[in-house]
Symmetry: D5
Amino acid sequence: MLYLVHMIVDIPDSLPAEEAARIKAEEKAYSQDLQRSGKWPHIWRVVGQYANYSVFDVESNEELHNLLSALPLFPYMQISVTPLATHPSAI
Amino acid sequence: MLYLVHMIVDIPDSLPAEEAARIKAEEKAYSQDLQRSGKWPHIWRVVGQYANYSVFDVESNEELHNLLSALPLFPYMQISVTPLATHPSAI
Amino acid sequence: MLYLVHMIVDIPDSLPAEEAARIKAEEKAYSQDLQRSGKWPHIWRVVGQYANYSVFDVESNEELHNLLSALPLFPYMQISVTPLATHPSAI
Amino acid sequence: MLYLVHMIVDIPDSLPAEEAARIKAEEKAYSQDLQRSGKWPHIWRVVGQYANYSVFDVESNEELHNLLSALPLFPYMQISVTPLATHPSAI
Amino acid sequence: MLYLVHMIVDIPDSLPAEEAARIKAEEKAYSQDLQRSGKWPHIWRVVGQYANYSVFDVESNEELHNLLSALPLFPYMQISVTPLATHPSAI
Amino acid sequence: MLYLVHMIVDIPDSLPAEEAARIKAEEKAYSQDLQRSGKWPHIWRVVGQYANYSVFDVESNEELHNLLSALPLFPYMQISVTPLATHPSAI
Amino acid sequence: MLYLVHMIVDIPDSLPAEEAARIKAEEKAYSQDLQRSGKWPHIWRVVGQYANYSVFDVESNEELHNLLSALPLFPYMQISVTPLATHPSAI
Amino acid sequence: MLYLVHMIVDIPDSLPAEEAARIKAEEKAYSQDLQRSGKWPHIWRVVGQYANYSVFDVESNEELHNLLSALPLFPYMQISVTPLATHPSAI
Amino acid sequence: MLYLVHMIVDIPDSLPAEEAARIKAEEKAYSQDLQRSGKWPHIWRVVGQYANYSVFDVESNEELHNLLSALPLFPYMQISVTPLATHPSAI
Amino acid sequence: MLYLVHMIVDIPDSLPAEEAARIKAEEKAYSQDLQRSGKWPHIWRVVGQYANYSVFDVESNEELHNLLSALPLFPYMQISVTPLATHPSAI
C-alpha cells in the first residue's frame, strides 16, 4: 500500500552542531535500512530545499505512523502524507 | 532527470459527455505510451480525488513541458511541477 | 484501518433539480449501505455547511478510493483524506 | 453534542526534557479520564504528525472550552474546533 | 449558547432577478423572525461586502444547523461557524 | 460605530511568569474599564483557543486604534479589525 | 476618517458588452462625483490588474458602506476595507 | 527599470474557438513587437502550465500598466507584478 | 511614480529595550525627512496593528529599494510593494 | 536549461554579526563566480525585501540542487524553484 510523504527538515540553531550531525547520521542509517527492506522504495531530494518527497510501501496507516514517528529527525520535520491508489491508466 | 508532477482534473459540465469520454480515452492511450517509453515511470491516483501524482523521467524542462502540454486533458487540468534530485541517503 | 474524510458538496445550478434529487437519493442509499456494512462508521454534518466529516474503516487505500469514487455525488464533491492511527493515549 | 477537535502539538526546545515528560504524562492521564467519562469518545493520531483529531461529546460550548483549556499541553497546542450535527444520511 | 457566524452571499447571475428578489424577501422575514425570537441576537453588515457577521444564541449545534440550513439564501452562501464561550474578563 | 475585533494572544516563553501574570491582570482591569464605559460592549472567548472576538463601539478609527494599542497585551497579540455597519434586515 | 479600500473588478462574460459599457460609464461618473466631494481623495490603478487601491474620507463605517454598496460595479467587485489612523511619525 | 511579471492565462470555454485563435495570434504579434522594441526582454513558459514569467524593461509604472492592459489576452489573464532593482552581488 | 507600501513591524524580544527605542527614534527622524522631501507623501497606521500603509513617490524601482532598505527598522519589518498607476477615473 | 529561483533570506538574530558578515561575503563571491561562469545569468533584488529572483542556466535538476545547496546562505534561505521552457512567442 503506497503513500506519498513530503518531509521538510528544519533543525533549530539551538541544537548543538555535533548533536545535529549525530542525528543526521542516524537518520541516514535508519532510512537506508527501510529502503533495503522495501518499505521506503523512493526518496527524492526537492531541488533547492532541505526537503524530500518519498514513497512508502507498508501494510497499514499504523505501520506508516510507526515508521515515520521513529525517524531520528522526526522532531525537526514537518510531514504530510497523501494516500495513493492504483491509477486506472497505469500499465 | 526526474520531476514530481501533480495533476488535478476538472472537466467542466459544459463539455458534452461523449467528447469527455473521447478525450479521456485519448489521455489513457497517450499516458500508457509514455509509460511504456520509460518517460512516465510512475502514476498514482490520489485517494478520494480526481487527481494524480506522477513521476516523469525526461531529458530537459523543455521535453517535460512538451509532454505535459500535449496531454489530451491538459486544458482541463491544474498542473504543478517539482524538480527532483538524488537524495544523499538514497541507496 | 481508519481515515478521516472531509467532503464538501457543491452541486452546480446547471444540474436539473430532478436529477440532483435522484443523485442525492442514491447517495443516501449508498452511504447507508456502507454504514450498515461497518465500512463507514461515522458521518457528521458540519454545522452551517453542505459538508460532512466522516470516518471510514477499510482494508486499504485502494478500497477507500474505490468506495469514495463510487459515491453518486463524487463528481460534485471536494474530498480530502487524512490517514489515522491509534493514539497512544487512547483507552 | 459533538465537536471535531484538531490539536497540533508543538513543544518548544526551551522546555526542559523532564518538564516536557511530566506534562505529557499529565496530559495522558487527563485525556484518559475524559475518555472514560464519555466526554472524549474518540482520539486518533494523524499519521506522520504530532497531532490528533478528536471527537468531544459535551453539554455546551462552555464545557468544551473548559475541558480544552485545562489540557496540560494546552499552552503548546494549536487547536481548532468544528461543531458537528446529525447527518441526514446517518443510520 | 453563543456562536459567531460569518455569511458571505454570492447569488449567481443565472438566477432570474425576480426569483432573487423573492428569496431575499423571504430571507429578510426569516431573519427578522429569528431576531425577534432571541435566537439571532446580532446581525451586522461587513463594510464594503455582501456579507454579515452574526451572533446566534441557541440550545445546541443541532439547532444552529437547522436554523442555518433553512435560510432561504443558504444555497448561495458560504458560512463559517465559531463556537463562543464566556470570556474570563467579561463583566 | 461598531467594529468586530479578533485578538489572538501569544505570550512568548521568554517572558517571566510573574511579568506575564502582572500584564494579564492589567489587561483584565483595562478591559473591564472599557466594558463598563460602553466602548467594549462584547467580548467572547473563542472555544479551544487563547483568543477572543470582541465588538467595540467607538467614535472613530482613531479612537479604536488608541484603545487597542494601549492594551497591556498588545505587544503579544495579533489583531484584525472588521468595520461593521447596520444590516438592512436588523430589527 | 480614512479607510484604504481595495477593489478587484471581475465582470462576467455573460454580461452583454453594452450593459457592461453603460455600468462602467456610470461607475466613472459616480466615482468622479465622490472624488469632487472630497470623500474619495485617492484612487490608483494597481499595475497589471483590473483593480484599484483607494482612500476614502468619510464620517463613519455606515457612510462608507453606503458609498461602496452604491457603486455601479459593486455586484462585480471583490472589496476589502482597512481602517486607517494617524501614524505617530506622520508630519 | 525592470519588473518580473507573472501571467496565468485562463480562456473561458464560452469563448468561440475562432475568436480565441484570433486573440492568441494578436497576442503573439503584440508580444513579439514589444520584445523587438527591447521593452519585453524575457518571456519564459512555466513548465506544465499555461502561464509565463516575463521581464519588462520600461520607463515607469505607468508605461508598464499601459503595455500590460493592452495585451489582447489581458481580459483572460491573472497578472502579478514584482518591481526589481539591482542586486548588490550582480556583476 | 507612486507605490503602495505595506510595512509590518515585528521587533524581537531579544532586542534590548534601549536599542529598540533608539532604532525607533531613528526611524521616525528618517521617515519625517523623507516625508518633508516629498518622497513619502502618505503614511497611515493600520488600526489595531503595528503596521502601516504608505505611499512613496520616487523616480524608479531602484530609488524605492534604496529608501526602504535604509529604513532603521528594515531588519525587523516585512514589506510588500504594489506599483501604482493613474486610474482612468481619477480627476 | 533555465529555472526561475526565488530566494528569501532570513538570518537569525542569534548569528553573531561577524559570522553573518563573513557568510555574506562568501555568498557574494560564490554568486559572482557562478554569474561569471554563465550558470547564474540573472539576479535581481526584489524591491523592499531581503530577497531575490534569479535565473539559473544549468544542465540538470541535479546540477541546480548542487549549486543551490552549496550557497553559503543556504541554511538561512527559503528557496523555491520554477522550471522554465521556451515560450512559443519568444523571438
